[in-house]
């Protein structure tokens, strides 16, 4: 790489990193600040005396600062802990199901020509398009009748209706770029199913992993339905539990702490994902 190119790349990376982290940092720093510091004007660029009070509080522990001030445990702790468990459950199940369902679906739409393709695709698109606000109440009524409110299974079902179409749309684009190895595979005597599972899937592994992560994040972050369907139940998810720090009695520091917490699993996943993306270079 030439010196000039390297300079521009470094500059671009710096800008990208600032762009990525500044908005998060601005709130997440509150996790380490007291209410007083948060309220200080002009706002502080960084916590001058960082403390971990909020992290203790959201898990239900009091925290005594060096100066003796006691930060009381949050009453939301139970919800947060439940929320973490439920969010992990929902996200894992949704991710698994979405990936299983969507990979063949996307493959079919990306690589095969068949009648009604456009129409079927449109039907899927239609379900992506529905704004939750418009069907929330009927939806809720349906769920009450089926006894699905306040249950994880109910939340999983509704989350699938979000992830499946979106991830499908994304994967279609990905599959279209693969080289035409089906020709080869079919001459090698493999059935369509085999071609899909043993040839396309390994080739598209990275794309599929990305898709899985997307499904994970969509369900991990789902909030609108969660707040309607599972708040106030044992099936509460982390986003719903967290929002308690936002409404009614505001706790910016605890909100920031739990937001930071909610970022950790995606962070871990993203970290492992990027290795797979790098692997794609070989193809």
């Amino acid at each position: 790489m030439s010196r000039r190119a390297a300079f521009w790349l470094v500059l671009a990376v710096v800008v990208a990193v600032i762009w990525t982290f500044l908005p998060m940092y601005w709130t997440v720093k509150y996790a380490f600040m007291t209410k007083t510091e948060i309220a200080r004007f002009p706002p502080m660029l960084y916590p001058h005396a960082p403390n971990l009070a909020s992290f203790f509080n959201i898990f239900g522990f009091d925290y005594t600062a060096d100066n003796g001030t006691v930060y009381k445990a949050s009453g939301q702790a139970r919800q947060i802990i439940l929320g973490i468990r439920n969010s992990v459950l929902v996200a894992v199940i949704v991710t698994a199901v979405t990936t299983l369902v969507v990979v063949p679906l996307a493959y079919v739409f990306a690589r095969l020509e068949f009648p009604f393709k456009g129409k079927l695709l449109a039907a899927i698109l239609l379900s992506v398009s529905l704004p939750p606000v418009s069907t929330l109440i009927p939806f809720y009524t349906l769920y009450v009748q089926l006894g699905l409110t306040g249950t994880l299974i109910g939340l999983i079902i509704v989350t699938l209706t979000i992830t499946i179409p979106i991830v499908a749309w994304m994967l279609i684009g990905f599959f279209r770029n693969l080289p035409p190895v089906e020709l080869l595979a079919r001459v090698d005597g493999f059935s369509r199913f085999y071609v899909l599972t043993r040839i396309i899937v390994p080739m598209a592994r990275s794309g599929i992993l990305v898709a899985a992560v997307i499904a994970f994040l969509f369900s991990w972050n789902e909030y609108v339905y969660a707040q309607i369907l599972v708040t106030g139940s044992n099936a509460v998810t982390l986003p719903a539990a967290m929002s308690g720090f936002l409404f009614q009695v505001p706790e910016p520091s605890q909100l920031a702490a739990s937001l930071l917490l909610s970022l950790l699993p995606p962070f871990v996943i993203a970290f492992f994902l990027q290795k797979h993306i790098a692997e794609m270079h070989l193809a």
Partner: protein, 364 residues
């Protein structure tokens, strides 16, 4: 091990015919070479036989059974794609292995087969590389190994040797023929290499613009081309053509044009007189002599030295290019006048209107 029949196959792409009314039978165990100019529909035909593409109309039969609707894997075909298509994410070995995955062979057998196929095409030391790390010729050889490792009902090889040097080509050619004869498998082989076509094929099918022009043994195709196109296409350098008319005098048939008048002997002696006719004669059947004699007067345009022989390219009397093969080292100044002689018994006559060979009384 199948007799492959194509019945009136048509394949159009957006209205344009890539293959037109193709009727062709490849006998069980036969090696058919498909020859034809670029874009004439060879690969399209292969794809349809393999079941990768469906004819717009027409039928494909394997051993008399209509397989037009059947999937590739029901046809049991091994194929080398023109583009040496390989799985990009697999090593050469695994690429070859994919062909055997469904074979039901034991692991050892498979390994032995792969080793043998790799040996045959000389890629043993490349087996662990991925396609992107192979040279063009190496990729082609791996693709070939992938095909020959199987024992299919039919081999379809679409220019499998085009990126190889002469020596390797020679040996692979022999290997392929040997293999085909040994396991008596039907094979269709696309090539643009005349020598390959002549030496390998039990029969040669010459295609042009989606149609089959002529199908026959190499000798037939070379010595008795039925259309002007085949005559001009097969043979390096190609056949020379002279225009003229056929006149009958003294019960003899004469080719007449402003600069020549020669008696037609042999096969065509019994043809009918006609106004326009084209006489074709192979360059190596012509002999050069100094200018001044009675034969075809030529002007030297260029001389190609091929090492073992030389090709003298001349302007004919009517401006047509006439090539004559002569011994290596032959020289003559550009623009020199020469004369050429040939035995009309070795020549062929074509009707320029139909582009087909002129009818004779004798069986043709």
């Amino acid at each position: 091990m199948a007799r492959i029949e194509l019945r009136n196959i048509v394949r159009t792409f957006g209205g344009q015919h890539a293959v037109q009314n193709l009727d062709m039978t490849i006998e069980d165990g036969e090696l058919l070479v498909l020859l034809g100019p670029s874009g004439c529909g060879k690969s399209t035909t292969m794809n349809m036989i393999a079941g990768l593409d469906s004819p717009t109309s027409g039928q494909i039969l394997f051993d008399g059974v209509d397989v037009t609707q059947r999937s590739p894997h029901e046809r049991n075909i091994a194929m080398v794609f023109q583009s040496s298509l390989l799985y990009p994410h697999l090593s050469a070995r695994d690429n070859i292995y994919m062909s055997l995955k469904r074979s039901g062979l034991s692991k050892q057998q498979i390994e032995a087969r792969i080793a043998h196929a790799a040996e045959t095409v000389d890629v043993t030391r490349l087996l662990d590389k991925r396609p992107s790390q192979l040279s063009g010729g190496e990729r082609q050889r791996v693709a070939t190994a992938k095909a020959i490792v199987r024992e299919p009902a039919g081999f379809l090889l679409d220019e499998p040797l085009s990126a190889l040097d002469a020596a390797l080509r020679l040996s692979l050619r022999a290997e392929l023929v040997n293999l085909q004869k040994r396991i008596r498998t039907t094979m269709i082989f696309v090539t643009h290499d005349q020598i390959e076509a002549m030496t390998m094929g039990d029969r040669i099918g010459v295609m042009r613009q989606g149609r089959l022009e002529q199908i026959g043994t190499p000798t037939d195709i070379y010595n008795r081309p039925e259309t002007l196109f085949v005559a001009g296409f097969v043979g390096t350098p190609p056949m020379n053509f002279l225009k003229g008319s056929l006149e009958q005098t003294d019960g003899k048939l004469w080719l007449v044009n402003p600069s020549i008048r020669m008696e037609i002997k042999g096969e065509f002696a019994s043809a009918k007189p006609m106004k326009n006719v084209v006489l074709g004669i192979r360059p190596h059947l012509m002999r050069l002599s100094e200018a001044g004699s009675s034969a075809l007067p030529l002007t030297v345009y260029a001389i190609e030295q091929l090492g073992n022989e030389a090709i003298v390219i001349c302007d004919g009397p009517a401006g047509e290019k006439i090539r004559v093969v002569t011994q290596a080292g032959f020289t003559a100044p550009i623009g020199a006048r020469l004369d050429a002689n040939f035995d009309s018994a070795a020549a062929r006559l074509y009707d320029p209107a139909t582009e087909r060979v002129v009818a004779t009384d004798g069986a043709n």
